[in-house]
């Protein structure tokens, strides 16, 4: 008998025509914390869903203590003691904490009705060691993300989990909250629970894990003991290339200030944010997920309106009430989620490209001229080397990187001065990333002022001229990229509240 509690071999899972897992392997030892790493879209989330029985694999073998198992649903995996805490907390916001904990394994009384009293009592017992501040009768939606995560852990514990999967649990936690979580994870490990810890942060891995497995592009890359692999090599395995060749040379000349943001605040999202960006410059806006970066960008673009503060464009104060205003002022946004915010998958590429400036392609301001639209789209898409069947293909037929290029082409059709790029390389494979970076550099060189939101530290250091770091809705640091290290940025993005109170 081997010492693995869970083994997966050659697991394949496809959705429609998309391969989400392409023959991946995984081995989990009893009582270890095993880090699973890989870029966005590497297939980690699907992998968990296969282990927990949400998805059934198309083929492949899953062994639990050397015995082949077939999971038909999450109920099956729960019975075997497999529990997962998902990345996007998969709670029922309108239902109470108690009900969320017991969903699917409710305590019933003799005649088969829910025994709320016992459940509430049990829920309290489960939550108390984790946090004293959670009221189990409150709806889940009223808790903070960190609290919701604790509830999910309590839920896993209530099921006597032997295998616990945590999907990026620290992504939006403060440092204190992270430390709390680490301790809970260690305690569970010592009690004999095997933990799969999915994370983007090397900090998490070094602090907790004894072994690490890397996925890339839906494929298994390898497994290593954490103390036997160098940071450099691990990154190279994750991204599939050496860091040094990740970023193209910069050629842009930096000019005068184009956009200036002064002390803007929005209740519940961010407070007193100020920065500026110059012609030809790439300014990175970084920090942890949930720090308020996206909201700042959306405010500049007019999706949200600030409570106070002002925005100046070329020295003149402008009022931006909606994206219509923003585009008229020459500010464009490449949104974070291209599927939901950037592309209409049902319409052909050229219509997507012209969607933000339809007026430009009309005869008299009303009737669209398809030839003009196509000509413009072809010209732009050739410039950014879009790979597509033709210009009337739907964006859904393209790869992630090429989809992003369509959104770029859409922005470039407009007459813009400022480009805000929210996570421009999210979920894009490595080769395509490089060409997105090239496009960004070319745009900077041709005089655009670029604000880039990014969570990926190497990307920030490799691409930006200046770096603004945010933490919990505030700016906590600003750096010239020359001479700045990952550690300096990390420190700023994890700054404690107490420290900030001083300034």
């Amino acid at each position: 008998m081997s010492d693995y509690i869970l083994e997966l071999k050659d697991v394949v899972k496809t959705f429609g025509g998309v391969t989400a897992l392409n023959g991946v392997h995984f081995q989990l030892k009893k009582g270890e914390i095993h880090a699973l790493m890989g870029e966005n879209g590497a297939g980690k989330s699907t992998f968990i869903k296969v282990i927990t029985g949400v998805h059934q694999p198309d083929s492949g073998v899953m062994l639990l203590e050397d015995e082949k198992i077939t999971l038909r649903s999450t109920a099956d995996s729960a019975k075997l003691g497999i529990a997962a805490i998902y990345q996007h907390v998969t709670a029922f916001p309108d239902l109470s904490v108690t009900e969320n904990i017991f969903m699917g394994q409710e305590i019933k009384n003799k005649i088969g009705l829910y025994d709320w009293k016992t459940m509430t009592k049990r829920a309290k017992e489960l939550i108390e060691p984790l946090s004293q501040e959670i009221d189990v009768n409150k709806p889940m939606g009223t808790l903070s993300v960190a609290q919701q995560q604790l509830v999910e852990i309590a839920k896993a514990l209530s099921r006597d989990a032997r295998i616990l999967i945590m999907d990026e649990p620290t992504a939006s936690l403060t440092r204190t909250e992270c430390e709390q979580l680490y301790q809970i994870a260690e305690r569970l490990r010592d009690e004999g629970v095997s933990i799969i810890f999915i994370t983007h942060k090397f900090e998490d891995m070094y602090r907790l894990a004894s072994r690490v497995t890397v996925f890339r592009d839906s494929q298994y890359i390898g497994s290593w003991d954490v103390d036997k692999i160098s940071n450099q090599k691990l990154i190279a395995e994750m991204v599939g290339r050496e860091l040094s060749q990740m970023y193209p040379e910069k050629t842009a000349k930096i000019g005068e200030v184009v956009l200036e943001v002064n002390n803007i605040s929005k209740e519940g999202y961010f407070k007193n944010i100020s920065f500026n960006v110059r012609r030809g410059e790439i300014l990175a806006l970084t920090g942890l997920v949930g720090a308020g970066r996206t909201e700042v960008c959306q405010t500049i673009y007019g999706i949200m309106n600030p409570d106070s503060g002002s925005i100046k464009l070329k020295g003149k104060e402008v009022k931006i009430g909606s994206p219509v205003d923003a585009l008229a002022h020459g500010i464009g946004l490449l949104p974070e989620d291209r599927q939901i915010q950037g592309l209409v998958n049902e319409l052909p590429i050229y219509q997507n490209v012209s969607s933000a400036v339809m007026k430009k392609f009309t005869k008299n301001g009303i009737i669209l001229q398809q030839e003009e639209e196509e000509k413009n789209a072809i010209e732009l898409c050739q410039k950014i080397q879009l790979k597509a069947k033709d210009i009337s293909a739907p964006p859904s037929s393209l790869s992630g990187g090429n989809q992003q290029k369509v959104v770029f082409a859409k922005l470039l059709s407009c007459d813009l001065k400022v480009l805000i790029l929210d996570e421009p390389t999210k979920g894009i494979d490595v080769g395509a990333k490089y060409s997105i970076y090239e496009i960004m550099n070319e745009l900077a060189a041709s005089g655009y002022a670029i604000i880039m939101v990014s969570s990926e530290m190497p990307e920030v250091l490799g691409m930006a001229d200046r770096i603004v770091v945010m933490k919990s809705g505030r700016v906590t640091g600003e750096f010239e990229s020359e001479g700045t290290t990952q550690e300096m940025i990390l420190e700023a993005s994890l700054k404690h509240k107490e420290e900030r109170e001083d300034n």
Partner: protein, 420 residues
């Protein structure tokens, strides 16, 4: 890895050319076949009546009071919204015209007032949906009661009988054998086609209907666009009131026209407009309007009463919604479930075998056509391929059986394990 940088410039120009085979199976063409089929049935069933002067015209005229509602509804559905208050709005518009006629206002003004009343009702719906962001279903359900309720309050059980005389003429006269109402319908349809298929406004509707968030991010004023569409819908209900009153012979009471909203929605859906928004063209519903008119007339001839016809309308609505869901993917999914025991390995084995068999079949036909080969060679070759087909089939069957038994074993074990 950065090999992508040196690719030559790609030709992205649209290559797909017009294909007759594809055009002939387009949904709009299928609708035309249906229309022709109904006509053939009518001719066969009642040849005498069909060729009588005026029959066709009156069939078409009977469907035209709905047509403005259909056109307006296309835009509403395009947004992904719905408007079930159109029948009530139509009655409000009729009432506005009728009351102002009673008050002795000039005819032209009365007509305009009717149209304005319709547009105002639409604006009320639009404001609640676009700006307050209430669900269109609930808003229009309640306003359908509210609008008709207001008509009931004002008119009680009275019947308005004083309408512009051209209303009835519009509904019942022909020019050169063509119904005036049809001509007007086609003219307005052309305008709607231009708006939806060629103008920036139409493009905005497609974008909003498919993805309102993208529309906002693309600098489209979603609220304003929705508002305009609802006002337009109300206005078209006002236009519909002209034909409606005409067809009713110039009298209107508060309970008339119920169910028109269902007919309008059903025709749109039949015409290929998706209720999820963002899909469809104007052509389909235009043909659909005619189909409905002929269908209802035919049923009338067969002594099917008005209430039972509603059953048919209901089924048309449901079936028309379901048809677009029947596609290759669904068929594949059903096959997977029924024949391949929900296992992709089995599916893959079978698909591969099917491909091989098809290959051999092609080779057989190629061999049979080959003039250079002697008959005996041909026969030998064909036989060889046929044997191969048999062996592939057998192999596939065998593999499937093995996989299925494995699957069964797994399922049994799972059942055993989890049954407690």
């Amino acid at each position: 890895m950065s090999g992508e940088t040196k690719v030559p410039v790609r030709d992205l120009a649209v290559k797909e050319k017009f294909k007759l085979s594809k055009f002939l199976v387009k949904w709009e063409m299928i609708l035309i076949y249906i229309l022709v089929l109904i006509n053939i049935v009518l001719i066969v069933a009642k040849p005498g009546l069909y060729f009588t002067n005026g029959t066709i015209q009156s069939i078409i005229q009977s469907g035209m009071d709905l047509s403005p509602l259909v056109l307006g509804m296309i835009f509403i559905l395009m947004l992904g919204d719905i408007d079930v208050s159109v029948a009530s709005t139509m009655i409000v518009a009729s009432m506005a015209t009728g009351l102002s006629m009673d008050a002795g206002l000039p005819m032209f003004l009365c007509v305009v007032l009717g149209l304005i009343a319709g547009a105002a009702c639409g604006a009320f719906n639009g404001y609640l949906v676009a700006y307050i962001k209430m669900p269109a279903v609930i808003v229009t359900i309640s306003t359908s009661m509210l609008f008709r309720g207001i008509v009931k309050i004002i008119m009680d059980v009275n019947v308005l009988k004083n309408f512009p005389s051209f209303y009835t003429q519009l509904a019942w006269t022909n020019i050169a054998g063509i119904p005036v109402s049809l001509i007007i319908f086609l003219l307005i349809s052309v305008v709607f086609m231009l708006i939806l298929h060629r103008s920036t406004f139409g493009r905005k509707l497609y974008i909003i209907g498919n993805n309102p968030t993208v529309a906002t991010y693309s600098g489209i004023n979603v609220e304003k666009t929705k508002m305009i569409v609802f006002i337009l819908m109300g206005f078209m209900a006002g236009v519909a009131s002209i034909f409606f009153v005409g067809r009713m012979g110039g009298g209107v009471s508060s309970t008339m026209g119920t169910g028109y909203e269902l007919d309008a929605i059903a025709i749109c859906v039949l015409g290929g407009v998706s209720t999820n928004g963002g899909k469809g063209k104007v052509y389909g519903p235009v043909i659909g309007t005619l189909i409905m008119a002929f269908l209802i007339y035919t049923l009338g001839l067969m002594n099917v009463d008005a209430n039972s016809r509603k059953i048919l309308t209901g089924f048309i609505l449901i079936i028309a919604v379901l048809i677009p869901n029947v596609n290759k993917q669904l068929v594949a999914a059903i096959k997977l479930k029924l024949f391949y025991a929900n296992n992709k390995n089995i599916e893959a084995v079978n698909i591969k075998a099917a491909e091989e068999i098809k290959n051999y079949r092609d080779m057989i036909t190629a061999a049979k056509k080959d003039a250079k080969m002697s008959e005996s060679d041909k026969a030998a070759k064909v036989k060889k391929y046929e044997e191969k087909i048999v062996s592939v089939k057998a192999k596939c069957k065998e593999q499937t059986a093995v996989l299925k038994s494995e699957l069964k074993e797994d399922a049994r074990k799972a059942k055993q394990r989890f049954s407690n």
